[in-house]
Symmetry: C2
Subunit: 334 residues, 2 copies
Amino acid sequence: MPITIADVAARAGVSKTTVSRVLNGRGELDAATEARVRRVIDELGYVPSARAVSLARGRTGVIGMLVPSLTWPWTGQVLQGAVDTVESGKYGLMLFTCNQGDGSMRQFASQVDAKAFDGLLVIEPEGTLDYITELHAAGLPVVLIDDRESRPQFPSVATTNRAGGRQAALHLLELGRRRPLVVSGTPGFGCVTERTEGFTEAFAEAGFPVPAEALLDGDFTLESGRAAVARAVAGGVEFDALFAHNDLSAAGAMQALGEAGRVVPRDVAVVGFDDVDLAALTTPPLTTVRQPLREMGVLAARMLLARLAGEPFPTEPVVIPTDFVVRGSTAPQA
Amino acid sequence: MPITIADVAARAGVSKTTVSRVLNGRGELDAATEARVRRVIDELGYVPSARAVSLARGRTGVIGMLVPSLTWPWTGQVLQGAVDTVESGKYGLMLFTCNQGDGSMRQFASQVDAKAFDGLLVIEPEGTLDYITELHAAGLPVVLIDDRESRPQFPSVATTNRAGGRQAALHLLELGRRRPLVVSGTPGFGCVTERTEGFTEAFAEAGFPVPAEALLDGDFTLESGRAAVARAVAGGVEFDALFAHNDLSAAGAMQALGEAGRVVPRDVAVVGFDDVDLAALTTPPLTTVRQPLREMGVLAARMLLARLAGEPFPTEPVVIPTDFVVRGSTAPQA
DNA sequence: CTGAAAGCGCTTACAG
DNA sequence: CTGAAAGCGCTTACAG
């Protein structure tokens, strides 16, 4: 029932080889022959089967993308950038998440082993970097998004986490804040280390080193922001500013501050990271370090596509700088 | 270099047929033979090539999913539910969006024609329902998410949009509100019609029909919520309540209300739709109709997987009811 | 400029 | 219980 290249060949009175040549634009073809074959293709509405093409060519035409969770507010932006780019490169995008823990990774691994895609885009999922590194070493083209300095030999797209942390610090210092609380993201992520370092270095250089008790581990969730503030307040830590590693935990922190009777920005000036939609909607609106999320997705996908087209990977991580967006949560106090 | 079924067969001293039988658990096999083949498979780390399997079997093992945009805050939830389910069904999920308009749809269509997936999950993208209907009619198993009453013959997962609209209305009526403004989603979507109808019917039944001037078209964006309120205020429309078709436009509406000097909930009680994370974080927190987003993704994927496993589709749309979440934006006034 | 044939790596009747 | 052979629908040397 479904028409194949053989049907086209028969109807056009040529060999399958010739039809294939027309399809792929390879070799010199008689113009009349080519026109005739094209006409038949149109008449029949023939489209080559992706299954057969991929087996014959030894490539799938699919790019895999592994993402930690789709419910994080910024994942959508990166993903959208990647999907758009992959799509215009005539590839398909196969999506995987680590949402179900080990089960997910097993499923993902089985698709890798089955060679279900030609290249991989990864937003580093907690604790799988070693596995991804193996894949890369085994020859699967991989581009990592975000986690920059942990494996410099890895093709990756990053943003200026360290500079972003520094921007946040300089802004708070300028406002006269001297005792910041830092609510970090999940420990172990390269971006987490960098953001904290950029931030604390700037404070230290200004003569106000951040004490260890003011550095609190979070995990990028709303709840972790709340919990960190609650812990700090309960522990008697004094602070007049707060830097969170993402907007979501900053929003959680602001809620907890409100519950603790601290007014933002009067008592505590708050800076987040990411600039997701939510940031403009908190009360007060959140000052934040803007990550070029969509752009990172686009660039990572472009690098991978270029690689699959035969070009070499860049040897250095590609870095897209962060922006700084000032809003009400750090409004200067009269 | 990559090992094939032939390598396994040779090393185990059996035919490829036998290896295939072990792999797929088909036919009676001598226990010793099977054990030997399994051992060789393990030793060699052999995994069948997805490309070859799909060509031989005539199926891809992939499910396509078409989504309007990944940057809408609720898409992630539905998608996550679908991905998790598809994954545990041993299928892959190929993601498509309509983000680039016609170009996207062309790319999507070419993958459909190439039979790059066995079944399709769709969150109805504006204006492509006819095309999807064709695909369904042409034999591609399709499950639609959300847009319920526009094509009753379509396998779909929906939620109680009409009942949700009614819940919102009854809640506002109970609070003594009589002149609601409705900020609808993109016109033409089935859910939009239903939400408005459920809402206006309840008001009419209570003796307070909603005038046409209070029904404003939006498009689910933050900006459309702002714009609608601005229009109503400028037009002199009087209102003491607002029902928005999603949380994002409700948030936009609340911003515009603030700018217009109207206090929520004192002057205007606001109800949204969806219950995305954002809803709990607006000021005041947003009362909203909760959609079972993740559950809808899970169920739609299950229906499709069951269908691909040979079971028939349910003949009726499957409906998961909405919930109603009361928060500060409709707090009773003393 | 064009075609016959082999091959991609599996599955599946068909035989035994 | 097991295997030889054909077939899935293309691409790609190899010949002419």
